[in-house]
């Protein structure tokens, strides 16, 4: 090992580099990391960029002024040690080693100062960009970890809920759904028989339902209360047919106390239930 040659590569004074100078060739006895801890040591790094950042910081170098030769030498030192110990190294570390080697050799070549264009670009530029980019997210991760975290630094308050029978909200149904259901069922029904459902049918049935509804509210209704003159002749006829239909179906009764007395309509249900054996 030619130590003066090593120094020649360095641009600044770094006395502790001598230790690493030895590390290049073999595992030095005075390496501050015990060899059996190397694996642990490497695991402490989140990849080659992290290791490089560590080496740069150790020497108080600025990323932007990275001395590639020195850093490469130290980096290769670790890699060599890992490999000599048959420690299985993640491929990323070897890729980085190759990249460093390439940058180093380009740095050693005389730079074509006066040519225009990108030829004059610093060969370290890409590495510096990546190191900087990585470092800012490394810092962001630390910042994130420093934030108060739920379950570690603060806790959401929760109290026992009172015992109460929970409501069970019934499903909602849209009118469209009802219509679609009817369409489907009628479609199927057509397979059995042909249906004639006209608007008249509905209004008659509607009137029947109206009468039943009205009777639901009052047990007795005046016969005349069922007719609405303002609906005209047709309305009266529909109401009358509806009434007859309901009587025919045994749902209603007409009640008259005596001749010419007012006629009342009432539910047959109440009556039949009373009379039921």
């Amino acid at each position: 090992m030619n130590e003066p040659a090593v120094h020649a590569l360095l641009q600044t004074e770094m006395p502790f580099a001598l230790v690493y100078g030895k590390a290049l060739t073999k595992i030095p006895e005075d390496l501050y990391i015990p060899p059996d801890a190397l694996e642990v040591f490497l695991e402490a790094f989140e990849g080659p960029l992290d290791l490089l950042l560590y080496l740069i910081r150790r020497q108080n170098m600025d990323i932007l002024d990275i001395q590639v030769a020195e850093i490469t030498r130290q980096y290769m030192g670790y890699i060599d040690i890992m490999q000599s110990m048959k420690f299985e190294l993640a491929a990323e570390y070897l890729v980085m080693a190759a990249m460093l080697g390439e940058i180093k050799s380009r740095c050693l070549l005389p730079r074509p100062r006066d040519t225009q264009g990108e030829d004059g670009e610093d060969p370290r530029a890409e590495l510096i960009r990546r190191l900087q980019e990585y470092e800012r997210y490394k810092q962001a991760a630390l910042d994130l970890d420093a934030l108060p975290m739920e379950g570690r630094d603060f806790f959401v308050a929760i109290a026992t809920a009172p015992i109460y029978t929970r409501l069970h909200a019934p499903p909602e149904v849209e009118l469209d759904e009802l219509l679609l259901a009817l369409r489907d069922v009628l479609k199927r029904a057509e397979l059995y028989e042909s249906h004639h459902v006209g608007h008249e049918g509905l209004s008659l049935r509607e009137r029947m339902a109206d009468i039943l509804q009205a009777l639901q509210e009052d047990e007795f209704l005046s016969f005349f209360a069922l007719f609405h003159v303002e609906e005209g002749r047709l309305g009266v006829v529909v109401s009358f047919i509806a009434l007859l239909e309901l009587i025919k179906e045994g749902l209603l009764d007409l009640v008259q106390a005596e001749s010419f007395a007012p006629i009342y309509v009432r539910h047959r249900r109440t009556q039949t239930e009373e009379l039921a054996p």
Partner: protein, 213 residues
């Protein structure tokens, strides 16, 4: 440590825990340097009990220790938190309801005739419990089958003033036609259901990241 300070720590711990804790467990929360003993914890619990008066919370003692709970009077509000998401009604129920609405009064047998399948008692009961359907009487034929009609609540539920506000069967045919044109038969319904579920989705899903790249 003052009684008030101990009391606040107990409040913090009981509410972070969300369960009952024994006095022993509460004492264990304090370090040796706090020098808090059994008696102080018991006194501090009393302080906490008083401090919670007038709030929505109360300190209660149960079999497994002390816990902070929401006062029972807030039960109705709290219970809305866990209202079960309404399920969807089955196809059979909707068809039955549609038939009752459009062909009332109608017997169960008549519904079965049209639908071509038996109508389960459960469906009729569900519709009655919902108070959308009631029995208006019985047809005067052998077996005296119940006549089913829809109620005022049914109209309310569908935003109708009267039965004649129900879409006419002609509208049904239009719907059919539109669906045929759009080629939206079964798929269309699924999509509709999907949209309804999406409406119920948690706000979580609203979280969007805008990209402008």
């Amino acid at each position: 440590m003052t009684l008030d300070a101990v009391s606040k720590i107990l409040q913090a711990v009981l509410l972070a825990c969300g369960k009952a804790m024994t006095v022993e467990q509460l004492i264990a929360i304090f370090g040796l340097e706090d020098g808090v003993n059994h008696e102080q914890v018991v006194q501090a619990l009393q302080t906490l009990r008083v401090a919670l008066e007038g709030s929505a919370l109360e300190l209660v003692q149960v079999a497994s220790g002390f816990r902070v709970q929401v006062r029972a009077e807030f039960g109705p509000y709290v219970s809305r938190l866990w209202e079960e998401r309404p399920q969807k009604y089955s196809r059979a129920l909707l068809e039955t309801l549609a038939l009752i609405a459009y062909r009332q009064p109608i017997t169960r047998g008549e519904i079965e005739d049209i639908r071509g399948v038996a109508v389960s008692t459960q469906i009729i009961r569900t519709l009655q419990e919902r108070e959308w359907v009631r029995i208006a009487g019985h047809r005067d034929v052998p077996g005296r089958p119940a006549l089913l009609v829809t109620t005022r609540l049914f109209l309310d539920a569908f935003g109708l003033k009267r039965l004649s506000d129900l879409p006419s069967l002609a509208a049904l045919r239009d719907l059919d036609q539109i669906n045929a044109e759009l080629n939206l038969t079964e798929a269309g319904q699924n999509e509709q259901n999907g949209l309804m579920m999406a409406k119920d989705a948690q706000p979580h899903d609203d979280f969007q990241v805008e990209e402008h790249e």
